[in-house]
């Protein structure tokens, strides 16, 4: 067939550079390098060990949510309730602990369990009642945030008792590598990125996730249990948001029922900037890691070079629009087989 020649020829003749440029991660990588160069050029302190340590500390907490969201969005769904779980889970853990009902460790397990149930409910509504994930998780956002505010009367919880706890050391213990202050959460993030990257690209489950987002009818026709895949990813997303909230709470010694407000949109932006398709079917963990760094570096860098912090959203909006245009162009080239 005429087209066969065309496809085969184009595939074989593409050079390494062309293939690199064609990858969805290439655009975010270039943007990150440009960002780093510009901020460093304007203010050399940007790449100081202290500033890098600061960027990484908070980056990994939002990053954990973004990694799970990448898989969920690849399956064609997304979760707006992650920000509220980020705030709710530490509140629940500390409330249980402070009232003497459980130990800190059991409080954490209870928080993760409740988050898993929230994910299960989200998944059940989306897959069994066929309600769009936008509406389901928006409703859940209000339920979870409302619950956090209700059980705390809107006040932050006492958190100082965590000092010296093995759990706190395991999740957010810090140490120095040369001049860099490193939190244990960075290793949790790296571990999660490696595992979820493996799941998405190498495992059978990853193939099902991509198929569930790309063409659920075809996936079902091949015997893939699309509903089970999506429910599992909703649970993963909720549990990761819960874990991120607990890590953040232990690191900052604060458990505010309002924390995490707006994180859902920032996390989705990180994932989309990294090259994962909002419509599902295609996702990249490497891209998401780049997307996380792009937004966190931007937030840190514009303050450091003297731009008012309130202007942050202007830059983020511009980045999202620019990256969407780039990904759309790459997708069209990809579909055309060039």
């Amino acid at each position: 067939m005429a087209c066969s020649n065309h496809v085969a020829g184009s595939m074989e003749n593409r050079s390494f550079i062309q293939r690199l440029i064609g990858r969805p991660e290439f655009g975010p990588l270039v943007l990150l390098v440009v960002e780093l160069a510009v901020f460093w050029g304007i203010n050399p302190d940007f790449l100081s060990p202290q500033n890098i340590s600061n960027i990484l500390a908070f980056t990994v907490e939002l990053g954990l949510i973004a990694l799970a969201m990448t898989l969920l969005m690849t399956s064609g769904e997304f979760d707006l309730s992650v920000g509220s779980l980020f705030g709710f889970s530490p509140v629940l853990m500390w409330t249980l602990y402070n009232s003497g009902v459980t130990s800190l460790e059991v409080g954490l397990l209870a928080a993760l369990l409740v988050a898993a149930i929230v994910g299960l409910v989200n998944g059940w509504f989306v897959t069994q009642l066929k309600i769009p994930s936008f509406l389901v998780t928006l409703g859940m956002l209000l339920v979870v945030r409302g619950t956090a505010l209700f059980i705390t009367d809107g006040f932050p919880q006492r958190t100082w008792s965590a000092e010296g706890s093995w759990l706190a050391n395991l999740l957010v213990g810090d140490f120095y590598i040369g001049p860099f202050r490193v939190y244990a959460s960075l290793f949790w993030f790296i571990g999660a990125a490696i595992v979820l990257g493996y799941v998405l690209t190498q495992s059978r489950t990853g193939n099902w996730i991509q198929a569930a987002g790309g063409n659920p009818l075809a996936a079902r026709a091949r015997g893939v249990n699309v509903s089970r895949v999506k429910i599992g990813l909703f649970v993963l997303s909720s549990v990761m948001a819960s874990l991120a909230g607990v890590i953040s709470s232990l690191r900052t010694s604060a458990a505010n029922p309002n924390s995490g407000t707006g994180y859902e949109l920032e996390v989705i932006a990180m994932v989309v900037i990294g090259g994962t398709a909002l419509t599902g079917g295609r996702g990249t963990i490497i891209g998401t890691v780049l997307g996380i760094l792009i937004l966190r570096v931007m937030r840190n860098g514009i303050v450091l070079i003297g731009v008012p912090g309130l202007a942050y959203n202007i830059f983020i909006g511009a980045i999202i629009l620019g990256m969407m245009a780039l990904h759309s162009w790459l997708e069209r080239r990809h579909q055309a087989g060039t």
Partner: protein, 263 residues
């Protein structure tokens, strides 16, 4: 006489008060390509949906090689060796050829708990299958389906059915929206599938395509099978059109001239 591969007997399917199938009888023999024809609303899509497990029948029996079976889902049908290929919904465009071929049945590399796909095996088998189904050009198995033409996508779907030893491959409008060369390619893929021992049901609006590839033509009208043993070598397109519409040649010409649907 040998038992046919598939026998559907007195099949009824109602949607509320609408009778989509009325005591339809239909069979497919081993290594046979059957062309299923009928006007819009004749019931051929419903018959195929029943056979592929997509919709439950209201009453009637289905036999595979003489053994009565119950097809409650598409997974049931696949397990019984019945593969349905819809033109637009058979493949995931974002996935590669190899990953589409093995979707749902990916080979796993040891140790199994790592759940790691054996991509080398998948690519090797995909390359061989594409050759077997009749694609002579060298398309890498890692090529995304979205980069392929409509005909090549049909070839991949047929190759998949052949690899997993489906006894019956149902092709729903496989030549829709394809150019002349692509159509000839798809027809040759279907012949190759038959020559490899698979049976096929070929559904197409274009009767000329059906005539080029099938061994036998079955015509449905108003939920019933009205002719089930038409030899394409011994009849004409006009004669089959007459059976489809239930009208004489003159009535068809008059209906076309009046702009009325030919029922």
């Amino acid at each position: 006489m040998a038992e046919p591969l598939i026998r559907m007997q007195n099949i009824r399917k109602s949607y509320g008060r609408v009778q989509a199938l009325v005591d339809a009888n239909f069979h497919v023999n081993e290594k046979e390509i059957v062309g299923l024809l009928g006007d819009n609303g004749a019931g051929k899509s419903t018959l195929i949906k029943v056979l592929s497990g997509a919709v439950p029948l209201t009453s009637g029996d289905i036999f595979i090689r003489g053994k009565k079976v119950s097809l409650r889902s598409t997974s049931d049908a696949i397990a019984h060796g019945i593969e349905t290929i819809y033109q637009d919904s058979a493949l995931v465009t974002q996935l590669s050829i190899a990953r589409n071929l093995f979707l749902g049945r990916e080979p796993i590399k040891p140790p199994r708990f790592l759940n790691r796909m054996d991509q080398e095996t998948m690519n090797t088998v995909a390359r061989d299958l594409l050759r077997e189904v009749g694609i002579s050009k060298n398309i890498p198995p890692t090529t995304p389906i979205g980069s392929l033409s409509g005909g090549e996508r049909q070839a991949v779907a047929i190759a998949r059915a052949m690899h997993f030893d489906s006894d019956l491959i149902i092709l729903d409008e496989p030549t829709n929206n394809l150019g002349v060369a692509e159509t000839q390619g798809v027809l040759s893929f279907v012949r190759n599938a038959r020559d490899s021992g698979h049976s096929c049901i070929f559904i197409a609006h274009n009767i000329h395509h059906v005539f080029q590839v099938v061994d036998r033509i079955v015509v449905m009208r108003r939920g019933k099978v009205v002719a089930d043993d038409i030899d394409p070598k011994k009849t004409t397109v006009a004669e089959v059109e007459r059976i489809i519409t239930g009208m004489s040649d003159k009535e068809i010409r008059d209906a076309v001239a009046d702009g009325k649907p030919a029922h």
